[in-house]
Structure formats: C-alpha cells, structure tokens
Point group: C2
Chain length 338, copies 2
DNA sequence: TTGTAGGCGTTATCAG
DNA sequence: CTGATAACGCCTACAA
C-alpha cells in the first residue's frame, strides 16, 4: 500500500520528483535521484492508484466494451461465440498497451452516459447497434468510439466491419451458379441497418443477378438456438421446392442441418445449406459446412489499433475498415447442373 | 459533469447533506431538503464519480474476472465457449447488484496484485487455476474470491464447481456397461489438481470398477482445436482395439469424431465417442453426441450469489458448491453386448 | 534539478 | 437536522 508520498519520504525527495520519475520525465531529474527513486519503488512495491490518477487527470485508462441490449432482456451477450472471441482478443491487445477492459451491458442511452461518467471511461467499443437514436448519442460523446460490425452513415464514428454484403452475395451466387433457384434465407431478426440486413441484401442481389425473383415466403426469421432452428427446418420442409438454404451464421446453418436431417432430409442430396463466419464448428458437422470465412482475431486486433490511434489523439488512419471474406467450399452444397 | 458540490450550491445546502441524501441516510435530513436535493440531482443529471468514491472509501464496486494464463502465451481465454458464457451470466448478475466487471488476463502473481491495487478491486472471480503457488497468494488477499471450477484444499477459498469426477465416472461406466473395455481418454494437458484431473480420475475409477486395467497408452493429451483433434484421431487409429473414446470436452469429442471419420471410421459403429459439457454443438453433430450435461448459466449465477454474500461481509452459506451433472444419452455410443 | 501548494469528487468525523 | 473540514493518492503549475 505504498503511496507516492511513502517513497518520497524514504528517498528524501518530494512527491513531484517521484511523480516525474514515474512518468519518465527524466530530463527534469538527476540521474542518481532517478536511480534512488526507482529502487525505492521496487523495494516498497509501489503500485499506482488508478482511481486517484483518474480523478485528477480525467482519464482512466478504462475502455468499455458495451453491448446494447435491445431485444431479449435476458440475453447473455456472450452467447455468440463471435462476441466472446473478439473480446478476448481485445482484452489482450488493450492490456499490452496499458489499458483496462470493462464489460458492460446497457439498455438505454442514460445507462451508457452514466457508465461513462462513473469511470471516466476513455474509450468505447460498441457492438450490436443499429440505426436508432443511439448513434446520435454516440456521436456526441467526444471520446474515442470504435464500432464493431455496425453500419451507419454517421461517418464520424469509426467502424471495423466485414464485407457482409459481398460475402453473402458471393455465397448465394455460388448456389445459383450450381443451378439452385429456390433458395431460402434464414436469419435472426433483420434489423434495419444491421449486419444481417447487409447479408440479406447480398442474398437478394445475387438472386436478382441470376434472374430469380425474390420470394418473401422463402425468408425465415428465427433465433439461432437449436430449438428455433428446428422451427425453421419445419417451415422449410413445407416448401418442397426449396433446394438450398443461406443462413446468416454457422451456428444457425448447423442447427438447420440438424433439424432438416431429423425430418428425413439428406444434406446436400435433398437440400444444400451454407453458413457464415467459418467457426470451427463447420469442420465438425456432417457434412462439413460450406461457408463465408472471416478472421475474428484480426478484427479484434484491428479494432484495438484503431482505438489506440484515437486515444493518442490522432485521427485513425483508416476509420472504416472492411475486412475481406472468402468462400470456404466444403461439402454441404450439391450442384444441380447436368 | 455535475458534481456533488454543484447540486449543493443549487439547493443551497452543504455537500455533506447532499451526500447523505444520495446514500439514503434519510434520518439525518429533513423531508423537504431531501425532496429539493433529489429534484436537483435529476435536473442537473448528477452521476457519481466512482473514482472519487473509490479513492475515499477503499472500495470500488469493481469485480475482476481473472484468467490466469499459464500455458500458451497467446491463448485467448474466450476461446472456450464455456468461459464466455459464464462471463456473460456473471456480468448481468453483478450489474443488477451495482457492480462493475473488469476482465483481466494475468500471468504472474505480481500482475494480479498490481491489478487489485490499481483499482481497489472489491472481489475476484478466478478460473483456470491449479495447485501452484497461486493459491497461497490468493488466500492472503483479504478480499472476496470465488473460484470457478477449481480444486484446492485451501478451504478458505470459495469455489463453485462441478461433479467432475462423478460425471466422468458415470459416462465411463456407461461405456463399460455396454461392453467397452478398450476405452481411450482424450484431454488437453491434465494439470495437477485441475478439473481435467478429476475427470481423468473418474475415468480411471470406472475402469477399475469394471476390472479393466488402466492402460497409459490409451491416454491422448492434445489441445482442443480441430487440428490437434486430428492428431488424436490419428493416434487412436493406431490402436485398432480401441472401441470407445472419452473426451473431456464436447468440442474435443466433436473434433475427434471428425478426425476419425476422415480416416474412414464410422461412429458409433466402429468407435463410440462421448463428450463433456453438453453444449448445443452436441445436437448438431452427426451422430448426436452422448455427453455429460452441466448448467453453465446456473454456475454463473451461483458464483455471483456467493460473491455478493461475501461482499456484504457475510460468510457464504455454502462455500463449496458442487453442481450436479447428468448423463445425456444420444447416439454416439454403440453397445457391444449382443 | 527539486519543492510547495492546490485541487480532482467524495465521504466521514465531529461540532453546531 | 446541517455544515465545516480533513483526508483519500495523485498530478501540475509555479516557485525556488
């Protein structure tokens, strides 16, 4: 519990000098006082009190990772293996740069503001938000904000995202290229301006390009859990003309494959299924899932890079990163040609 | 940015009185000053500064969720869907009780101590630790600590864990009861005193009970990722007498099933496979995986309950919770009996 | 090169 | 019932 004053007393100097040494302002201190102070710091095991620092400097080294809960109140925002993986990557990169990560779920903008003031939060990662009044709140915040997987025209906000449209377009095209024309689209609730909408648009674009009229009745909206996927499968079976399913997440694709199989459908012989994300699950499922690949660790690291640039007061070099996707061809799609 | 003093000025009272109102010490303040102050608080949008509070009160409302990295430096502690799910549950329960969650990976006990002092951390969740010198450090910490999935004889530390031994014993017995005698055990590195060791002991106990001699060459230690699982599968195929595999995690079991299948083995016809955890993956894999079920959300909630009791200065009612497991029978096991 | 003094926002003690 | 006042640990002008 040594304080800066303790080590000042021990070394016979003032707090100021100690503080200067701690902050590496070596030009203002003589070499041997630096020496003395540094050893004292080690001896006494001095550890800075971040609360005190934060209080006086209006900066806390705390970065918040915020999840905006809108839909299900009880939803655990770690359910999605994607969120959790990126958080792990983010914690690591932040820590290496002297920051601390606070996790927080919020429901209203008031809660968000309160959280920021509570801790003098230095920066904010945001995920899972959409075009609602939230963006206005965010853009008036005056602290670095990095959005992850968000679509917004508030270009003031940095974002690291994915080629959602293109990825989805490509994999749908992959399907049409193999003769599929009745292609279902399965997704959780498609929020306006969200990731899923982009993927939805990509799907539609590919259909249009192949001269396939969009059929609303082939869109199935359900949560991603196994039970909901069974519901989707049931619905799909009611449309015997469907030959392929585009799902907006691997978890969902896998769930649907299970449901379909339970109803006697063989994959890909009876129905083809594709996913999105390329999590390890894809390789473990039978048949292995054809999907759109994205690099989640990279996403996390880039988000932190952006954040660090912002924190240092620079403009981010690139403020709207779009990571590429690639198609991973496995065995869940059958060609209808020939 | 209204401070307590701002609202004191506006209402014409002293800081003390405002502070008293904020903390509900209503007996020391007259009814209408309370009224006045409360409206002012709302008008000005006063939000407490936690740093200041923390500084003066030696309590921060910050709870740390700490992951102790020992093995792979680069490991992302969110990789395991289990960790992440429990963190989500924990954040939620903590928030509902006025606490904040900080995520932190540490490598040494010094780092841990520093983290605690930095923020006056009020309590600590710990996961993934083992019987090393760390326990000594922990038990001298004098703040509430709740271990998750840890085995220790330091009974001073609270723990919420699982019937690891029993779960593993039961599922192995399930196998021997179906005529299996050459049963492999697949697991990541089995640390002394860790969860995996318990599961290993459960496996061995079931063998012994069935008069099956333990054969060291049937134990395969590998990481859980798909590539490592392929290695395990390769090894298993070198022992054509093996008829069943006990894996210490569903992810691993699924990976091994994949690897085995790639080498032409049919499951369960040629080899039976069982897992542990009962994550949703089990239902999506072919064949559906027989496994040991545990309730991860419950685990998180109970851990928070324990923490809250400790934070309030009470002894925890129960300081060593062991959650039950149950066997979920699906289709990845074949009976060898007639 | 070093020291003094004031203040960040809050709470606690103690006196009125 | 209410209000000064000091203190928590640290930083930063400014002064020496």
């Amino acid at each position: 519990m040594a304080t800066i004053r303790d080590i000042a007393r021990v070394t016979g100097v003032s707090c100021t000098t100690v503080s200067n040494v701690i902050h590496g302002k070596d030009n203002r201190v003589s070499a041997d006082t630096i020496e003395k102070i540094n050893t004292a710091i080690k001896e006494l095991g001095y550890i800075p009190n971040m609360s005190a620092r934060s209080l006086v400097s209006n900066s806390s080294k705390v970065i918040g990772f915020v999840n905006h809960v809108i839909t299900r109140k009880d939803s655990n925002f770690m359910e999605d293996p994607f969120h959790s993986a990126s958080i792990g990557a983010i914690e690591q990169a932040l820590r290496e740069n002297g920051y601390y990560l606070m996790l927080r779920t919020i429901e209203t903008s008031e809660e968000l503001l309160a959280f920021l003031r509570n801790w003098n939060v230095d920066g904010l990662f945001f995920t899972g938000i959409f075009k609602d009044h939230f963006f206005d709140v965010l853009s008036n915040l005056h602290i670095p904000i990095v959005l992850i997987d968000s679509y917004t025209n508030q270009s003031s906000l940095c974002n690291v995202g994915l080629e959602d449209f293109k990825g989805s377009y490509n994999i749908t095209k992959y399907l049409t290229g193999r003769g599929h024309r009745r292609i279902a689209f399965a997704s959780p609730d498609i929020k306006d301006g969200g990731v899923l909408q982009e993927r939805f648009l990509g799907y539609k674009a590919a259909l249009t390009e192949a001269n396939i009229p969009f059929d609303k009745s082939l869109v199935f909206v359900q949560e991603m859990d196994v039970a909901s996927c069974r519901l989707v499968s049931e619905d799909i079976c009611r449309h015997p003309d469907i030959t392929a399913v585009v799902a907006t997440a691997d978890v969902m694709a896998a769930g649907i494959m299970t449901g379909l199989r339970e109803r006697g459908k063989r994959i890909p012989d009876d129905i083809s299924v594709v996913g999105f994300d390329d999590i390890s699950l894809c390789q473990m499922v039978t048949p292995p899932l054809t999907t759109v690949h994205q690099d989640i660790n990279l996403k996390g690291r880039l988000a932190v890079n952006m954040m660090l640039q912002l924190l240092e007061g620079n403009e981010a070099e690139e403020d709207h990163l779009i990571l590429p996707t690639s198609l991973v061809e496995r065995e869940s799609v059958r060609s209808l040609l020939t």
